[in-house]
Symmetry: C2
Subunit: 240 residues, 2 copies
């Protein structure tokens, strides 16, 4: 197998543990306003509104809307569903909670594995996160990237092919010289349809241990690994 | 003076010494094919074709063309002016030389000063360089940024206002919360017209000691510094 010339990373789930991070960030709010709901369940319900919001934005005619804004809108939607009067809440508290997605920690293998991979490959984000969100998250958790690409750069969301193809183009690469690293089969399938190489990293705890919704879409990906350190080894990056 | 919430940097001249870098990178080619020309003069002539090429791209109707490509096109233009038969040269040698702009060193104060500034501020590029060029340059010289913004992200070149305003928008900032750091009065003037804060850093050796072409456009900028370390001090970043 030819090695890729650069690696593009999905972020939510693949790099950072959004499930426990959102539960942690939302816990005070949830215990105050929604005492019958567990923070972990709240995180799961919020994330469930994510894919439909993206699809709406891809199809919609209102122009591209950044993910920070979709997080805010889906938060309002979720709280309304829970029966809260959103107008009665402090706007500041809502904005802080919507920015919970900026304060997520990487999985334990990521800092070391990403630094290893970066020795040999340019590493960029190919995430639906907007630039301001990614900058805030990186400054929060200390991760270093060669560039932040993906949705905002492409002005559309994954799995729209333009999101993958614009990343390759910005890197001055042919699609088949770029490898997407992701824990989601659906994301990898869309990347493969665009001609990208694919590396699957298993994140069994993404949904707190529950099965992933796209488990049935598994294929034989170009590489399969159980951590970024394992991926570095498979991509022939020496650790010493 | 209120402090900015993020810093956006011009790159060629402000961060890296293109004049001596291009002279160094071109020296073998120039001594082989243009023995009557000094590499420093070659660098200066090549750079002179830069602003007209950008203006043409801003005004033109051919869509946005990345800087790597403009470097290649202006190189061919320059060599033709010197009387070389470009068709007779190895395409590989031309491409390597056009990519000389990817292999430039920072001024001596930059690595330390930028690291200091980054402790307190998000630091992004607001350069006419394309993403692939900036990634290659950063991997060559070791500089670290929070994001690569500017021309390719905006799909237009400075001094088009859209280049400055799209950078602020991507950072989720109002224009007056963002400060451009540049050694070019013309760049700072365009940023100020868009409402950005401005920090001038003096780079007297940008043209090998010759006066800068925009010296007459000097204004009282919000901050003036003679190095990135000096700028960090003026922006109240402690060095210990």
């Amino acid at each position: 197998m030819t090695l890729p010339r650069a690696l593009a990373f999905d972020v939510f789930g693949t790099v950072v543990d959004w499930h426990s991070g959102i539960a942690r960030e939302a816990s005070t709010f949830v215990s105050t306003y929604l005492p019958a709901v567990s923070p972990a369940e709240f995180a799961m319900q919020w994330r469930r509104l994510y894919a439909p919001a993206l699809r709406e934005c891809i199809k919609g005619h209102g122009g591209f809307v950044v993910l920070d804004t979709l997080h805010y809108e889906t938060l309002v939607q979720l709280l309304t569903t829970y029966g809260l009067e959103v107008d009665q809440l402090a706007p500041e508290a809502l904005h802080t909670l919507a920015h919970a997605w900026r304060r997520l920690d990487p999985w334990p293998d990521v800092a070391e594995g990403l630094a290893l991979l970066r020795r040999r490959f340019a590493v960029v984000t190919l995430s639906n996160a907007n630039v301001a969100l990614m900058i805030a998250m990186n400054r929060y958790n200390g991760l270093q990237w060669d560039a932040l690409l993906g949705a905002e750069f492409a002005q559309t969301y994954k799995p729209d092919p333009a999101a993958y193809l614009s990343t390759a183009r910005a890197l001055d690469l042919k699609p088949n010289e770029l490898c997407l690293v992701a824990c989601h089969h659906s994301d990898l399938a869309a990347a493969r349809d665009c001609g990208l190489m694919t590396a699957y990293v298993d994140r069994p705890m993404e949904y707190g241990g529950a099965p992933a919704p796209d488990a049935a879409q598994a294929q034989d990906w170009d590489w399969q690994a159980d951590s970024f350190i394992d991926l570095a080894r498979r991509l022939q990056v020496m650790s010493t």
